[in-house]
Symmetry: C2
């Protein structure tokens, strides 16, 4: 397969809001070409855990996935969110199929034990691009829930930003790929208090400077680390920007383009 | 595709019991050839609904799927149960991919409004055999959660016995198919009190007689109605029997073979 492939990650705050999700899915369905959509769903998982009285343990802002929490994220990510997204895309004429990384052993991972025991949390070892390409031959879009599996068949909770980057990097060996991180913001911001202070073109050197000045915080750091790593792993282009302007974003007309 | 295909339904009491499920998955993984596995999960859905304080309304023993219940069955069937089954099969070396009927619009249904309003419950209109065949070309097994979608993209809760029969009937137009209903019993019983009173060969006339004598009850009626309908829809062979003896069952060495 040498066709251009878009790998798009949609963030949790979009998944959480029915109106924002519908706006995103409509934009997504209208994008031409073969696409892979990786979604989160952490806030909905936290909400369900709360309703069931299951305490969520966090280490440095990352969820510890104990056995009960793994059940919850499997239900929420691979069940509720994945099928909401698939059926929403179908309603906009995009023939999507929804899977998680365990399906067809498409994403193999190993349990993360460093720097702490995060329970059933996975770090990715391998993406099966043959299986993904087979799905993209028949379907317009593959929707991926952020769960993977180790070689013994154990399901593992896995960061969706990292899944999107790993999939884009693996597919880039055979086809030109574009990696797009979308969320509720307009892009990477020079000043987090100013929604319009979007940096149109972010270089690695500029990113390093923003980090040192502590202008970039928390959730943006792993996303940007993944974005730069993707470029180093030969992904053709990487964008970060608003979920409701996906077409403009993929054409470089809004948001932030990441360059080395 | 002209290869022989086995379509296997596994019942809720097997899904419910970790030991019984593992025994079934091991047997299933060892079966040769291309396979489709349709699963239920109603008891686990009822349990989750209970924990969340969502009352389940029943009409004539059938669940009414209101909006909250649809969320629950989507989480339990397409999420928890589907991915447990997929990862279990992977651990036994069977390369399975898990979907529901909404994925790739593989199973299109319409909302059932007769004889009562069952909420978001679907009756099947169409099975997309091209999409299923494309999946079976690349993967050993397709695992199907009992959810479908109407033409507007609305998810619908759908009877798993009926999904298995509809899939077998649709695929039979292109390839020889075998439909196998498995559960915790040894087969169709002459006397429900006697686990060993298995009827090895059940004809339509004998079934009619058993019904008239009220020897067959409740859950077995829709299963047997689907079994005979499958034969009338040109499915090659239909078996009903024990989930832990799947190989013997598919070779006619135990359980009940259904014939017209």
């Amino acid at each position: 397969m040498t066709e251009h492939i878009k790998i798009i990650k949609v963030g949790g705050n979009i998944i959480n809001s029915p109106a924002a999700l519908q706006a995103f899915l409509k934009e997504f369905a209208a994008l031409e070409g073969k696409k892979i959509l990786v979604h989160g769903g952490g806030a909905l998982a936290t909400e369900l855990a709360g309703r069931l009285g299951i305490t969520q343990q966090m280490i440095d802002g990352r969820r510890v996935t104990d056995a009960e929490t793994l059940k919850i994220v499997t239900m929420v990510y691979a069940g509720y969110v994945n099928k909401q997204v698939v059926s929403g895309l179908q309603s906009y004429g995009c023939n999507a199929i929804g899977i998680c990384g365990a399906d067809g052993h498409i994403i193999t991972a190993r349990r993360r034990t460093f720097p702490a025991d995060f329970g059933f949390a996975g770090d990715i070892d391998r993406v099966d691009t043959d299986a993904l390409s087979a799905l993209l031959l028949h379907f317009d879009t593959v929707v991926v829930a952020p769960l993977t599996m180790d070689v013994s068949g154990q399901l593992l909770n896995t960061n969706a930003d990292t899944i999107a980057r790993s999939v884009a990097a693996a597919l880039s060996a055979a086809a030109p790929c574009e990696l797009i991180y979308t969320f509720e913001k307009n892009g990477v911001l020079q000043d987090v208090e100013q929604p319009d202070s979007v940096i149109p073109l972010l270089t690695a050197a500029h990113y390093q400077q923003l980090r040192e000045e502590q202008r970039i915080f928390a959730g943006m750091l792993p996303k940007l680390d993944n974005a730069f790593l993707a470029l180093r792993e030969d992904v053709g282009s990487v964008y970060i920007g608003p979920a409701d302007q996906l077409k403009a974003l993929s054409e470089g007309r809004c948001g932030t383009k990441i360059i080395l």
